[in-house]
Amino acid sequence: MESKSIFLSKTAIANVLATALLILTFAGFDFELTAEQQTSVVGGVYTVLNIIMRLVTKQPAHVFKKPDETTLNTTPWVGIIVLMLVVGLLHGCTTATVETDTARKRFAAIKTDYASVLAVAVQYESLPRCPALEPCSDPGVVRQLRKAQIDARTVLDGYEAALKVPGADLSSWIRRSVAAVSAIQTIATNRGLIK
């Protein structure tokens, strides 16, 4: 059978697109799904796509030269399809477990960042209020820090509650928590308390 260039192969193109999807997921692109759902959907699409492509494939493909046609007997392809199916399923299962694991650790890491900037804020707050002699704390900055802290606590409580709900969309809580902690960090940075 006559082979065609791999660059014209629908299977190769579909796999490149699916791999791009995987890379986007890995890079943290938000599909508005939970991490578990995102991984399962991408892994599932990848697997199904490969099986469909295998069914519609009529010609072998080559990169530089026509492959030896004696290697194209049916049995190895069945093995490869089964292997891809198993690897796809295993990939989905193991990654989902790791992602769930990461959600709680991510929460702990964000809370550690929060505690870290709070420690600096507390140190600043403990100074006499300006216009006392230096070093003193600006009452306006202290008010800002206190307000930002209350906002952050509200968001972090929401994140912690969401952690206990199976299938909850944690990505939005992660985003909001990071933003809330960053708001305190920005106040502290602007005041020169942290760099």
Binding site: R104, A108, K111, S116, L118, A119, S126, R129, G192
Partner: protein, 70 residues
């Protein structure tokens, strides 16, 4: 010259404060990181008890930040 002296004075007053704050923050980070690393080394997730330890640490700091003005 006056500006240099003023800058040196400001540095002298703020540097110990900054160092103290940074040192306190570093301790907190070390405690939080230790919890996460321990869980990772033991091949498990963070437990509710560990999250509670972290929360106690945070709540203490929150109360100190929100205390009445001195």
């Amino acid at each position: 010259m006056t500006a240099i002296i003023k800058a040196a004075q400001l540095l002298a007053t703020w540097a110990p404060l900054a160092l103290n704050g940074v040192s306190s923050a570093r301790r907190v980070v070390m405690e939080g990181s230790a919890l996460i690393n321990k869980a990772t080394e033991e091949g498990r997730d963070i437990t509710d008890e560990e999250l509670q330890i972290l929360d106690d640490l945070v709540r203490d700091l929150e109360e100190r930040l929100q205390r009445d003005d001195i």
